[in-house]
Structure formats: structure tokens, C-alpha cells
């Protein structure tokens, strides 16, 4: 069923050995490549989603949006980033300068490290960690510490309130998120993202987890939006009430780190939703079937390259479809109050996620064929 797929590392290693290098040196040369690639991919993903955000927001409000920086304003996010890069780096008087600097770093690093487990294909990921999805959940809970730190260190009441809100929100929504993931893990008998996707590739679109876990999908998506502080849940930086929350005192590159972290987190969450619920890199019709109908051997190099590209395309497509929904949601829903936010998290999503988990467990026992017995 599951083909070995492309193994770029092996080909690279063989090519290097062809130049007369030892396998160890080849591995050492190989190691930074995927990391660099994923870092570049993450940053480009942020630029694209910032551009999308501005263009879609403009379209929803019947405006034009960025227009003159590059064709259709595609270079606008780059210009924004450049501006932040050359701005003065201000640390307010009487602020705790160490914590103030450490805050944004603690926010952005876990998000970038989480890209470790994002699969774009059978072997197209940095590391197939056994505890994959659990690693992401634990990394994402480092983030509120950074937010709280920067809010506290700013020596500003709005920042402190924003930081506290961010911490409260992250903690409340982490639990239903983890429970929703747990239901998926139970079905696929593995924490590894690759295994989770492989378990959904059997019958194309019909075998995607969204049909078996519709409630879990909704819970996960709501919680992911809350974790990213996207609009219905953007209380930590609610500009009308808290100026900009924990970001109030930040300028220049430190602000850019928050900005970057927010958008990387959005794209990351969207990719994870597609991995967990929408079949990851899987095409709606299994590529194996298509190859069979066209009488092509699945192991042929050309087919392998096509399969790999289709996988990457599908992952990006699904992720950006979800990013689009998130952006549209921003202009559709008003911001919830802090009590409504906590009510939704603790009194609605948490019991629902628990029931979902129990029902999944029961279904797994009752129908082991359909629910990964």
C-alpha cells in the first residue's frame, strides 16, 4: 500500500559519495539543507499569507488593497518587513531589558521549531519524530510564557493585561486542542504525523479524518484560531481596548518577531489541520490508483517526482484554503469578551472534546475496520 516514495537524503548522500566524500561528511552536508529549506518556506509562507490577508481584507471591504509594490502589491509584505528591520530598537525606560528581549524570542522559536514535524510527503519532512504531534503541542505551550514575559517586562499596564489574557487563553484552549488530537491519535495508533497521514490515504478524499472526526475538526480549528490569536479570539492584542496588548511597547525587529510568529503560527496551524483532518499531502483521488489507471509503475522516478510535487502542492493548497477561511472569519465575526472566551473554552469545547474522545474510543472498539482498530 504505502510506497517508499522519494528519498532525497539517500540520493544526495550517494551523489556526495560519488564525489569521493565519506557518508558521514555527506550527512553533515545534508543536515542543514532541509532546515534551511523549511525556514525559507515558513518565511515565504508568512509573506504570502500577509499579502493574502491584506488583499482579502481589502476585497471584503470593497477596497483595492496594496497595489503599487510589485504586481498586485505582492512585494508589500517584504517592504513592511524591511521597514521593521531598519527601525530603531527601543527598550522602554524602567522595563526589564533581559525579559523584554527574551519574550519575542521565546514566542518565535517554538513556532519555527514546530515545522520540524510538518510532512509534505512520505519522506519530505525534516524529522519523522515518533512523538510528532505531541512535540508540537508541548512546543506551543512554551509560547504563552514568552507572551507573559514580554507583557510583564514592558512596564505597561496594557501590556501586562494583554500578556495575562494571552496566557489565560492559551492554557484554556490547549486542553480541548490536545483532546481533539488525542482522538486522532487513537484512530491512527501513532503520534507521528507521517503515520497519521498514511492512515488517511487509503481511499482518497473518503478516508480523510474529517468524515470520521467532524466534531474534532471543529474543536481543533476553533482552538487553533484561539492559539494563533486570530480575530474572534484576538483579546490579547485587542487594539480597541488594550492598545496592542503585549506588543504595545515593541518596535522594530522585536515587533517583527511577534508579527512573524503570529503568521507562522497561523500557517502552521492550517497545515496541521490539513495533516490531521484533511489527508495531509494526499490527493483527493489516491495517486496510486491514478498511476494504475495510466499503467505507470508507482516506483518509476518520474512518477515519484510527480507524486512528490502533487503532495507538496496539496499540502500548501489545503493549508492556504484554511488560511483563507481564517482571514474571512476575521471580517465576519466580532471579538468575544474574555468571559465568553473562557466560557467557550471550559464549558463548551472541553466537555465536547471529552465526549468526542469517548465516542471515538467506543467506535474504535465497535467498528475496528473504520476507526483504526
Amino acid at each position: 500500500m504505502v510506497s517508499p516514495g522519494l528519498d532525497l537524503e539517500l540520493s544526495f548522500s550517494q551523489a556526495m559519495q560519488g564525489f569521493g566524500l565519506s557518508p558521514e561528511v555527506a550527512r553533515l552536508l545534508w543536515l542543514p539543507l532541509p532546515m534551511l529549506l523549511v525556514l525559507v518556506a515558513a518565511v515565504v509562507g508568512v509573506l504570502v499569507s500577509v499579502w493574502l490577508e491584506r488583499k482579502i481584507s481589502a476585497a471584503v471591504q470593497q477596497r483595492v488593497g496594496p497595489e503599487y509594490a510589485g504586481a498586485l502589491g505582492v512585494l508589500q509584505p517584504l517592504a513592511d518587513g524591511l521597514k521593521l528591520l531598519v527601525k530603531e530598537d527601543i527598550i522602554p525606560a524602567r522595563a526589564d531589558s533581559i525579559l523584554f528581549t527574551l519574550g519575542p524570542i521565546l514566542v518565535v522559536v517554538p513556532v519555527i521549531v514546530s515545522w520540524l514535524i510538518i510532512p509534505f510527503g512520505q519522506n519530505l519532512l525534516i524529522s519523522n519524530v515518533g512523538v510528532g504531534i505531541f512535540l508540537w503541542i508541548s512546543f506551543s505551550s512554551v509560547q504563552p510564557i514568552g507572551l507573559l514575559m514580554s507583557g510583564y517586562a514592558s512596564n505597561n499596564k496594557y501590556s501586562l493585561l494583554g500578556g495575562l489574557r494571552a496566557a489565560a487563553q492559551s492554557i484554556s484552549y490547549e486542553i480541548p486542542l490536545a483532546l481533539a488530537v488525542l482522538a486522532i491519535v487513537m484512530m491512527s495508533n501513532s503520534l507521528s504525523t507521517v503515520d497519521i497521514v498514511n492512515q488517511q490515504t487509503g481511499a482518497g478524499i473518503l478516508s480523510w479524518n474529517i468524515w470520521r472526526q467532524p466534531v474534532g475538526f471543529l474543536i481543533f480549528w476553533i482552538c487553533a484560531l484561539a492559539e494563533c490569536e486570530r480575530l474572534p479570539f484576538d483579546l490579547p492584542e485587542a487594539e480597541e481596548e488594550l492598545v496592542a496588548g503585549y506588543q504595545t511597547e515593541y518596535a522594530g525587529m522585536k515587533f517583527a518577531l511577534f508579527y512573524l510568529a503570529g503568521y507562522i503560527n497561523l500557517v502552521l496551524s492550517a497545515v496541521l489541520v490539513s495533516v490531521l483532518y484533511l489527508g495531509g499531502w494526499g490527493f483527493p483521488i489516491p495517486v496510486e490508483w491514478l498511476a494504475g489507471w495510466l499503467h505507470q509503475p508507482i516506483d518509476a522516478p518520474v512518477v515519484q517526482v510527480i507524486t512528490g510535487s502533487v503532495g507538496i502542492m496539496m499540502t500548501i493548497l489545503k493549508a492556504y484554503l484554511l488560511v483563507f477561511v481564517a482571514i474571512l472569519l476575521r471580517w465576519t465575526t466580532p471579538r468575544v469578551r474574555i468571559d465568553q472566551l473562557l466560557d467557550l473554552g471550559w464549558k463548551f469545547l472541553l466537555p465536547l472534546a471529552l465526549v468526542n474522545l469517548l465516542v471515538t474510543a467506543a467506535l474504535k472498539l465497535a467498528f475496528p475496520v473504520a476507526f483504526g482498530g
Binding site: A59, V60, Q62, R63, V64, L328, L329, W331, T332
Partner: protein, 210 residues
């Protein structure tokens, strides 16, 4: 037990209602995405100001008789009329006239009451300056005519909504020769019957059964 079931039912109904409202909102925002932008791309496109637009005031020095009516009708006595009495001719001699547009509220009272029509309102509204003192226009600055939006080659003039043909919403797609909705002043004039001449031929009344 029954009460608990009712609670669960109510809660579910609320959740379903919320989901339905959310879907309704999505339909609205999604629909708006495919509509044309309503914004005017300002330095490149400009709206044509309406006929009675009260912009920067134009002043003709040669027509002015230095009567100072404009000063008296101005809410804050803004126009500065600098004249001296010529003892020989026993006439006022106007030397300078200025209006400070940093203070003017563009009410148009001076224009309304000027006995010689030497004051008039233009369609100019781009008065931004680096120094507020440069907004104090003297009679030379007041005598300059503004560039019309319709004749400026670097600007695409757009008609305002009320000046578009009936049913049209987007000025970009309407050609300049299509008339506006409703009757033009000339058309209205035709519906007016002249009053029997009693020395005041310009007076007119509406037809009884028009």
C-alpha cells in the same frame, strides 16, 4: 433528569443557532469579496465636486469696492480689507485684501452678500501646506483659478453617485456623455411657465398641472 435533558436541548439549540448565524455572516463577507471596490484611487482618480461645492474662495481685486460687507457677515470677521480714504477724490482706495483659510469655515456668507460679486467659491479643496501661515491668502493668491479636475490630464475624473445615470453605481464604467439621473436645470426651466410681463420678466412660477 428531565430538567437536565431540557438544558442539554436548549444548549444544543443555542449552538446550532450560533453556527447558523456564523454561516449567514460568512455568506455576507464572501459575497462582498467579488464586488468592485468603491474607493476612489485618490491622486490618480478624483471625484468631480458638485456645482455648489464650497471650496477655496476666489476674489477679484478690481471689482471690490471695499465696502466691508464680507467682514460684517463673516461669523468671525475674518477677511482683512486694507483701504485708505483718498481725501482728494473722497473715495476709498483698496490696498490689500486677504482671507486666512486656516481659520475660514467655508460657510460662504461673504460670497452670498458681496454686492459686486467679486467673491466666489471654487471647487478647490487641496489646501494642505507645510506652514499654517501660508494658508493666509492675499489678493494675488485669492485671484488664482484652481485646476479643474476634468481638465487635469494626470487625473481621471469620476462623477459622484448623484451625478450618475439612474441605476448606475460605478463611475468607472459610465461614459462622460450619458446624462445624470433626473432632470437637468435646463429641462426644469422648460416646465416653468413665464409670468405675464409686469416689468419683472425673470420671475417664473410652476405650471399648475405639471
Amino acid at each position: 433528569m428531565f430538567g437536565f435533558l431540557k438544558q442539554v436541548g436548549d444548549y444544543t439549540r443555542d449552538a446550532v443557532d450560533a453556527a447558523r448565524n456564523l454561516a449567514q455572516g460568512f455568506a455576507v463577507t464572501f459575497d462582498h469579496m467579488q464586488r468592485r471596490p468603491v474607493t476612489v484611487q485618490y491622486p490618480y482618480e478624483k471625484l468631480i465636486p458638485s456645482e455648489r461645492y464650497r471650496g477655496r474662495i476666489h476674489y477679484e481685486f478690481d471689482k471690490c469696492i471695499a465696502c466691508e460687507v464680507c467682514v460684517r457677515v463673516c461669523p468671525i470677521n475674518l477677511p482683512v480689507v486694507d483701504w485708505v480714504m483718498n481725501k482728494a477724490t473722497k473715495k476709498k482706495e483698496l490696498r490689500n485684501y486677504s482671507i486666512d483659510f486656516g481659520v475660514c469655515i467655508f460657510c460662504g456668507n461673504c460670497v452670498e452678500y458681496c454686492p459686486t460679486n467679486c467673491l466666489s467659491m471654487t471647487e478647490e479643496y487641496e489646501l494642505a501646506a507645510f506652514d499654517r501661515h501660508s494658508l493666509n491668502y492675499d489678493n494675488v493668491a485669492l485671484g488664482r483659478l484652481p485646476t479643474s479636475v476634468t481638465t487635469d490630464p494626470s487625473v481621471q475624473p469620476l462623477r459622484e453617485l448623484v451625478y450618475l445615470p439612474a441605476g448606475e453605481m460605478d463611475p468607472h464604467t459610465v461614459s462622460a456623455d450619458r446624462p445624470r439621473a433626473g432632470k437637468l436645470p435646463a429641462d426644469v426651466l422648460e416646465t416653468l411657465a413665464p409670468v405675464k410681463d409686469e416689468g419683472q420678466s425673470s420671475k417664473a412660477v410652476l405650471k399648475e398641472d405639471a
